[in-house]
Amino acid sequence: MVSGDRISRRKALKAISNVAAAGAIVGAGVVGAIGGFMAGSTTGGAQQTVTETRTREVTKTVTATKTVTAGAPTGGNPIKIGFEVHRTGIGAVYGKWYERTTVAAVNLINEMGGIDGRPIELVIEDDGTDPQRGAQVVEKFALEHKVDFILGALFSNVVLAAAPRAGELKIPYFAVSEGYHVPSGKLNRYSFQPGITDVRSQTQAVAGWIVENLGKKITMVFPDYAFGYDHRDWFGKAARDLGGEILELIPIPPTETTFTKYFPKVPADTEVLYHVMVGPAVLTFVKEMGEFFGSKRPEIFGFIDSLEGVAIDSPGLEFLEGTYFWEAFPRYLDGYDTPYHRFFREKVGVDENGADVNDPKSVATYSHMFSCWETLFIIKETVEQSGYTRRSPEDYRAFIETLENFRWFNEGNQHPQGAKLFNGRLHQGFGQQFISRVENGRLKTVYRTKIEDSVYESDVDYTKQPL
């Protein structure tokens, strides 16, 4: 059993109406988190077995929708978790690694005794990175597979189409995106994003370092749609608040294939070029940026989203040498070398350079996929603290209210990216960020932000919504 002091559901419900007792729940959660790490880190003898199980399961889930992991505890009915994954469509690169991480976490949890002694049964459905299909998958999970919880998705449009349906069907839905959709208040009481920070907090967290270390005069290049606008609005605000100046905003249409005409718009006195280009055109973007600026370039800061799943030393990316990137979790192990981080890499099967241990050319979407791992452990912790046993309004109420009362998820094997500060009103987790520099064709972490750098005030309060 992982958890330390466990509180029954009825006790938890009673405690929620009592401030002092609520503190005890949070305390128990922290104890549980620490206990979880201790349990995980002392299973060295079993690690080889777990790894073999993971490999076998990865193969299995490719051809099967339902997965009951090997080595799972035999007692109790399984807890069913529906995993909405982008196996096909534009998000497939991410989906491959999200699935691999999720399967690894499920196997580990089952090896550790499951959730409250019950094994996890993972039900995987491909949403095709399509909003319409995404909502349909939620219906399938809730009404046909009758899962207890839903994990996914990544792409914001799928989350925004799927999460409302989960709210209507009254089933907890855990986004593993980084979009500013959950904390913005667009969704509902049943939607959470505890395992990864959102784009607003990411940009806010790095703004101070950029203004202090790279320069105050900033030009922003961003895609001309919502994701880019989130960067424009939130980074722009944070930079200005910290004494920075946005010299020019250069939106680039999503269908653009050549970027040469945009670079002359960059003012000559620009000290920092902030870019957040995504999609297949990013290689062209970097190449043309290099051709335009040559050796007389400003400091350049980008978001690793552009190059997730892409080797930094790929031909055409030479111009990135000496530029900086935001990372949620360093692709190279030495960027944040902790025992928990090593543990996570081993279980998921990622080498020290952020690639598949069996295929160095297959680079992971490392800055995002940890969210699946951490979210699954949060589900586990909340089930055990709330006394959730079955799909019923009462148990879901206990589960949601217990989760809303969590404050911290401690760093450990369950949270290898770092501790998370959870805001129950926003249903959003906040954590540390990393800034890395490209040196010799690899990313070298140069700065780690504090958790509080990513925290922002908001009037959103999901706890006021009825269940």
């Binding site: 490719v62 051809t63 099967a64 929708t65 196996r87 096909t88 459905e125 491909d126 095709g128 399509d130 909003p131 319409q132 299909r133 909502a135 349909q136 219906e139 399938k140 009404l143 046909e144 914001s156 449009n157 925004l160 189409a161 999460a163 409302p164 349906r165 709210g167 209507e168 979009g179 959709h181 667009k186 969704l187 509902n188 001309d224 749609y225 919502a226 994701f227 606008y229 249409p253 999503p254 269908t255």
Partner: protein, 322 residues
């Protein structure tokens, strides 16, 4: 008049039977399949609209996502920004779809054949990019959620919520029934017969004295309006609007559904839509390479039934099928 009424009783009985069947199914099938049928009815409405142009007029468009999305955004944005109740947003969306399709038809129908295909696709792409460009209003590719803006539907003594699965189902059924019965009426009306004449041989129809441009424009407008009605229903029933639903994929989908079920038959688009959605759902649960399976299945079906499933049934066995 004899010709016009031939088989009317059977056709009417069949159509009412289909609608009654959908109504009864909600009490029989498990909740997941009821949700699937809700989705199928909304999207089949879109296919019915597309079929009026392709199946009965012989014009293949690759730009119908533009009309589906017109209805989608008109309904969704009026609910979000103007607080319109669903039953006011719906007719507004239908009206705007009619205006949009009449305007687009007036422009695109000056071309024909492959040029018509390309021009409709281009206009649709322009519409798609416009939804991205004005993303501060439309939500762009991320989209907007309607849930908290959707007001209850007032039915006199009581009101119902569109967040309720039963209400969603029956709302979709009403929309579908309107489109389905309208397509039956159209195929048996004098206008519908002229459209079929144009499909079979537009030069001959013109020589007979029909202004084929006007008839094509009428067909285009009716087709786009029903597609827009489906888009509005999608926004209201599934509480989400986003640019992905205006992308070219949503121009190709109704083409596939219609061809699979049988272009030029009223029931074909429904069969095609339902079959495609269930094939994708079923195969995606078996293999991650389900799109290959879907593709092969489609090819086999097209080889076995060149005029579509219902089209083949009509040719071989039930010739009175409208």
């Amino acid at each position: 008049m004899y010709v016009a009424n031939k088989g009317l009783g059977k056709a009417l009985a069949l159509h009412i039977g289909v609608i009654a069947g959908f109504f009864i199914l909600q009490f029989i099938v498990p909740p997941f399949h009821a949700a699937m049928l809700t989705r199928i009815m909304v999207l089949a409405t879109y296919a019915i609209g597309y079929n009026i142009l392709l199946g009965y007029t012989g014009l293949m468009s690759l730009g119908h996502a533009m009309f589906f999305a017109t209805g989608l955004y008109a309904a969704g944005l009026s609910v979000i920004y103007y607080g319109l109740p669903p039953l006011e947003a719906l007719p507004l969306a239908i009206l705007l779809s009619a205006v949009m399709s009449a305007t687009m038809g007036a422009i695109t129908l000056r071309t024909s054949g492959v040029f018509f295909l390309i021009v409709t696709m281009i206009f649709s792409q322009v519409f798609f990019l416009t939804t991205l460009y004005f993303n501060m209003i439309t939500g762009g590719e991320e989209g907007l959620v309607l849930t908290r803006y959707l007001k209850p539907i007032s039915l006199g003594l009581f009101s119902v919520e569109l967040t309720d699965s039963v209400v969603k189902y029956n709302f979709a059924l009403i929309i579908f029934s309107i489109a389905f019965l309208f397509s039956l009426w159209l195929t048996r009306s004098p206008v519908g017969r002229v459209l079929i004449a144009i499909r079979e041989n537009d030069e001959r129809a013109e020589m007979l004295g029909y202004n084929i441009y006007k008839y094509k424009l009428l067909a285009f407008t009716m087709s786009g309006t029903i597609s827009g009605m489906a888009g509005a229903a999608y926004a209201l029933v599934f509480a989400y609007i986003g640019s992905a639903l205006a992308s070219i994929l949503y121009s190709i989908n109704p083409l596939l559904w219609t061809l699979l079920g049988g272009a030029g038959t009223t029931i074909g688009p429904i069969i095609g839509t339902g079959l495609m959605i269930y094939i994708i759902d079923f195969t995606s649960g078996i293999t991650s390479s389900y799109l290959i399976v879907v593709g092969i299945t489609l090819m086999l079906l097209v080889l076995a039934f060149p005029p579509g499933i219902v089209g083949a049934i009509k040719r071989r066995w039930i010739r009175w099928l409208p």
